[in-house]
């Protein structure tokens, strides 16, 4: 799975979890760009990503997610490992 496909899958998860069909993720997207994205639904997003890609993040990986690109990179490392 390439980075664009990972980003597209994450986009679907964000739309579903935040119940906002107008979300368009970019690698640079951060919490500042999406009103509904806060620490509470961030947990649900991480859980949904882990289920979708059949991966488990470590605590330090989760702490270092500052943008959507960080999340996509961590996913890419695990799905290609």
């Amino acid at each position: 799975m390439n980075q664009n496909e990972i980003l597209a899958e994450c986009n679907k998860i964000f739309i579903d979890q935040l119940d906002n069909p107008s979300i368009v993720l970019k690698r640079e997207t951060t919490a500042a760009d999406i009103d509904e994205w806060d620490s509470l639904n961030h947990i649900q997003i991480i859980v949904a990503i882990e289920k979708r890609f059949k991966i488990r993040f470590t605590s330090s990986e989760i702490q270092n997610f500052k943008s959507v690109g960080d999340m996509c990179d961590a996913i890419a490392k695990k799905v290609t490992a």
Partner: protein, 297 residues
């Protein structure tokens, strides 16, 4: 909002924008927030000053605790269980680890003014406790943690009431000593299950301890044995609350009430606090944390 709280929220938002956003949403709706938050933070800042630290240290500790809670929450949703289930495990992982205990205790005291349910539970104690303190001669707090509740109890209790604090962690006792800063409190490093006193107590407080033990019923029975027949206890504990040192999972508030009754207590005053904007039923269904508090006799 005061300059102090504005600074705390702004630093949290800089370092953890997702969490900062959530705090701004929840704290803006709290009644009398500014005055009470300042009271708690002033007390805490005095402790930090004595330690040669600033509020930035508290913010750092709080954010470390938030990282732990986030990770534990993800694991909880995936598995339906807490990551630790035995006391031995968490004693090694947390209570016997001064580095973790240090940031955990500082993080928890900050949470009194940053988590809506901790803020409400603190107010519930401060506002309801005076109803039960008239004839209190001997007061005990079990698992005093950072010491904030003992410090408030000391302010409210009759001046001649003896105050004991029992905790299993030396780190907690050290922090409570610093925060309370009074020789009126007798600090006892002890496992409460093995704690025996010749004289019984008029009032026992035990905030957020039941979820840390393997046998909460045994602990409630222990409290019953430490109380005079006319005595009262103040108990709080959460449902579905993943944390690095929580081992006993309450799935809903009724399980807590049932345990209280099974230990021989009656519930006199109680409060059920969802941590998010949802009803008790929604919180149970979605396994979202609720905090329960009760004065029991």
């Amino acid at each position: 909002m005061s300059e102090q709280m504005t600074y705390i929220l702004s630093e949290i938002s800089k370092q953890n924008p997702l969490h900062g956003k959530k705090l701004k949403k929840t704290l803006s709706a709290l009644k009398d927030y500014e005055q009470i938050a300042d009271h708690v933070i002033d007390k805490y800042s005095a402790l930090l000053k004595k330690q040669g630290r600033t509020i930035d240290y508290g913010i750092d500790c709080y954010l470390k605790m938030i990282n732990d809670v986030t990770y534990e929450s993800v694991q909880f949703i995936q598995s339906g269980k807490y990551t630790s289930t035995s006391f031995e495990e968490v004693n090694k992982r947390v209570y016997g680890n001064p580095e973790i205990m240090e940031y955990y205790m500082h993080g928890l005291i900050m949470s009194t003014v940053l988590w809506r349910h901790h803020y409400h539970i603190y107010n519930f104690f401060v506002n309801t406790f005076p109803k039960y303190t008239k004839d209190v001669k001997r007061y005990l707090e079990i698992g005093g943690g950072h010491g904030l509740f003992v410090s408030e109890a000391m302010r409210i209790l009759p001046k001649d009431a003896a105050i004991d604090l029992v905790d299993i962690s030396q780190s907690s006792i050290n922090m409570a000593k610093g925060l309370i800063d009074s020789n009126r409190v007798n600090y006892i490093l002890h496992d409460v299950y093995k704690y025996d006193k010749d004289k019984t107590y008029d009032f026992v407080t035990m905030g957020e301890v039941l979820e840390h033990v393997e046998d909460p019923l045994g602990l409630l029975k222990k409290i019953k044995s430490l109380l005079k027949d006319t005595g009262t206890a103040y108990i709080t504990t959460p449902t579905n609350a993943p944390a690095i040192d929580h081992i006993y999972l309450f799935n809903n508030v009724q399980e807590i009430r049932d345990l209280i009754h099974k230990a021989g207590f009656e519930i006199k005053d109680e409060l059920v606090l969802p941590t998010e904007d949802m009803t008790e039923e929604e919180a149970n269904r979605t396994k979202t944390t609720l905090l329960y508090a009760a004065f029991i006799k």
